[in-house]
Each structure stands twice: as C-alpha cells, then as structure tokens.
C-alpha cells in the first residue's frame, strides 16, 4: 500500500475538475456552499476582501474554525498556509485538511523560498501569473495550479490576464525549435525537464483552476472557455446579496459554460454582487499577486 503518491495528489485535483471551490468562514457558510453544489470549500478566518480591508499580517486560520468546517461538510476541505510557512502547512496536514493552498492571500512567511511540497502527504495548490511561476511550483511539488488573479477585488481582469499569459507561454514553448528550449526554460526560471513535459503534452501536467476576482456566473463561464479546469470563488459569494442563489448559479455556469441561454437564465435576479475594486486604484505594494517567487 502506498500513500501520498503524486498520482493520489494530482488525482484529487482531477476529481475537482468542472467544479467550484468556495471560500467559507463558518460551518453555516460551508453547508450553504455544499448545498449549492460546491465540489470543495476553502476554510478561512476571513475572506480575501476582508483581509484586504483589515491590513496587517494575515496568517493561517485558527484550527478551531477549520475543524468546525471539516465537521460540517462531507466535501473536501482546503485551507491556506502562508507562502514558505512549512509549519503552518504541517499543522493543517496533521488536522486532516484535504488540500493546502500555499497562498499569496496571506502574508508571506519567507521572502525567497516556497514550501517543499514534495515532502508532504497532503497535496498543495499554488497560484501563478505565468508559466514560469506555475512550473516552479509544480517542481516544488504542487499537485494543482490556479491563476492568482487579484484576490478580494471582485474584478476578473487579473485572472484573465494570468490565464491568458500561461496559455501564451505554453504556445510559445510548444512552437520553439528544440535547441532553444533550454534557454527559454532559463528565461522563465522553470526546470528544463518540466518544460519538456509541457512541450510534449501541450498543457500543464496538473489541473489548472481560475481564481482571484471571479464574482458572477458569466465570469466563471468565461474562465472555463479560456481553458481553465474549474473555478475558485473567494469573496464573490459570501460578500454578495444572496450567497446561496449566486453559489448555485456559478456551479451551473461552470458545467454548462457554452450555453448562453442557460447562462442568461441562471444570471437572473441574483441580488447585489460584491462591490468591485478597480485594480489601478490598488497601490503596487498592496497587490497580493506580487507575492510569491
């Protein structure tokens, strides 16, 4: 018998595909998410919009909150650890969390290195803005990738930018003559072997979700059409007027992302969406996407 194999780690991500992973802060919210059809929840002390508003240092959630949420639902429960904070990650693993998000939403704990994720039994998901970042995280052992977007803004533009950038980088890698690949790997700061794998398959070797600014069913469907495997919705649900209804609509949008009549139907009467933030009004130093190396 074998546990913690790469196949088991990437395999759970494969099972999450075509689904919506929702940020929740209470057992009640977790139940609403599960009832709406979420394929997993992210257990947090505060959603990104509130972390952004509160400022200061954002850390791993209190284990009590995560445990209560784990008890409340039967779907997988994810939780966030700070970038590089391998002890927060070990604590979450010991609690039996199903997936760890080494996340730029929290304040980084290491200004040079990410967690060595290969050493863990629990799988990790990490954010990226381009292929280089994605492949560095995969080389470190990430079993799932997501766009960073700009969390807590309800503004999809950064998620779109990051998704397109990754795809653009992959297309470039695939059409380069083989003798230029090593230099391209150097340019984007990614290991050559992983670059060769991406080149061979024409895609990332792990599941890739959209995250960071998705607030409506239309946002979710657009990210699916751009080629993402599924969607994280952070503040977008529980910072909106009617979370249960919006959550259910986003779940449907991710499954039938090409059916515009259905998308029109499910987008009706969802109540107030979360208040969005224009990215240009956020000073560069406060953009969470800049965190990670």
């Amino acid at each position: 018998m074998e546990q913690g194999s790469l196949r088991l780690k990437t395999g759970l991500a494969e099972m999450l595909k075509g689904g919506v992973i929702m940020d929740v802060t209470t057992p009640e919210q977790a139940k609403i998410a599960q009832d709406a059809g979420a394929c997993a929840v992210m257990a947090l002390e505060r959603v990104p919009a509130d972390i952004r508003a509160a400022g200061g240092v954002a850390r791993m959630a209190d284990p009590t909150i995560v445990e209560r949420i784990m008890k409340a639902v039967t779907i997988p429960v994810m939780a966030k650890a700070r970038i590089g904070h391998f002890v927060e990650a070990r604590i979450l693993e010991a609690m039996g969390v199903d997936y760890i998000d080494e996340s730029e939403v929290l304040t980084p704990a290491d200004d040079k290195y990410h967690i060595n994720k290969r050493e863990f039994t629990v799988p990790f998901v990490c954010g990226c803005r381009n292929l280089g970042e994605a492949l560095r995280r995969i080389a470190e052992g990430a079993a799932m990738i997501r766009t960073k977007g700009e969390p807590g803004t309800g503004n999809v533009i950064e998620a779109v930018r990051h998704c397109r950038q990754v795809l653009d980088d992959i297309r470039r890698l695939c059409c380069l003559p083989e003798d230029e690949v090593a230099n391209y790997a150097k340019e984007i700061g990614a290991p050559l072997e992983v670059c060769m794998l991406v080149r061979k398959e024409g895609r990332l070797p792990v599941v890739n979700f959209a995250a960071g600014g998705i607030a409506t069913p239309a946002d979710a469907a657009m990210m699916m059409q751009l080629g993402c495997d599924g969607v994280f919705v952070g503040s977008g649900i529980f910072k909106s007027g009617d979370p249960a209804k919006r959550a259910k609509a986003i779940v449907q949008a991710v499954t039938n992302y090409n059916d515009y009549k259905l998308l029109a139907e499910i987008s009706k009467d969802l109540g107030e969406p979360m208040v969005g933030i224009d990215i240009s009004t956020i000073p560069a130093a406060e953009r969470m996407q800049e965190r990670g190396w």
């Binding site: 018998m1 088991l8 494969e14 999450l16 595909k17 039996g96 199903d98 259910k248 039938n256």
Partner: protein, 196 residues
Amino acid sequence: MALIGVLALQGAFREHARALTSLGADVRELRQLPHLDGIEGLVIPGGESTTIGKLLMDLGMMDPLRQRILDGMPVYGSCAGLILLCKDIEDSEQPRLGVLDATVRRNAFGRQVDSFETTLPVKGLNEPVQGVFIRAPLITRVGADVDVLARVDMAPHGGTGEEIVAVRQGRILATSFHPELTPDTRLHRYFLDMLA
C-alpha cells in the same frame, strides 16, 4: 463501435473519455438532457457525488438517466459514480440514481491524507489492477443479485477483514477506485464487453 455517454457535469470525465476512445469507442460528453439521445452505454466518473447529484436534478437528467439504466443500458460508475448508482447511502439524503442494490459508505477510509494505492485482484481479470483510492467509498451491503468483483484488506486502514470495492449487478458495473487514473484500460474493456 458503440456510442458511450460520459457524464461530464463535474469530475474526472476526461480521463474516462480518453480510456474509452483508446479502446475504439465513440464518446459523447453529457452535460444536458438532449445529449442522452442515442447513447448505448453510460460512464459516471469520479468527482463530488453531492455536486453531480444536484446538477443531475437541476438539469432534469436524473429521472431519464435512471429510466435508461432500468431499461437495460449498461453503466459503469467509479467512486462518485458508484455512490450515485447505489440505492442506499449511509448518513445521507443526497440525490442518487439508486439502481444498484447496495449500501455505500462515503469517505470510508478517511480524508485525503488516508487516500492510497494498492494492487488488488478483480474477478474476471487475469492479473491484479492498481487500485487508486481517493477519499474512496466502500460498499457495506449488497443485494442477492449483486456479484462482488473485488475486496480490499482493511488491516492497513485500522479495520479488520475485507470490504467490497467493486461489484456488478447485471449491466451495472461499479468500482470505488479509479482505473481511469492509470494506463490500464482492462476495466473499461470489461465494461464495453457488457454492451455486446
């Protein structure tokens, strides 16, 4: 070759489609009711059974699919697919097809850190398969018409004896593990042979 519908509402439908295509089957992804027209077999992939069950209800696909299976269309469900096929789900009222006379226990081995791989013999296959169990369910009761195809030793999981992880009831096949995550297509071949 037969047209197989792979339920593509959520989960690892791509992997099943790839395995079936490699065996020469025509595959259609099922996301809405009209997609059921003309399919000769059905695969329900792994994923979240609560998510898939809710979408089956919301999209009005649950009753028509159940009827097709009761009318004799062969079906294979892995993991979440197995859960959706079972008549009884321990501690859960979640929507289901309920065509397989068995009781299932969800997340029976624990959480993701308890997920595991092991080799296990399957009745009808010459060599053992690599069983990939991810937050996997177990079958705790089977009806008289259900043939047990595989069991797993519970000793490494803090239990005793053996528990059921693969079954067949007529033209219904179900496994709690994921052959679609391995290069081994023998169980998909076994399923396609059920169409003959």
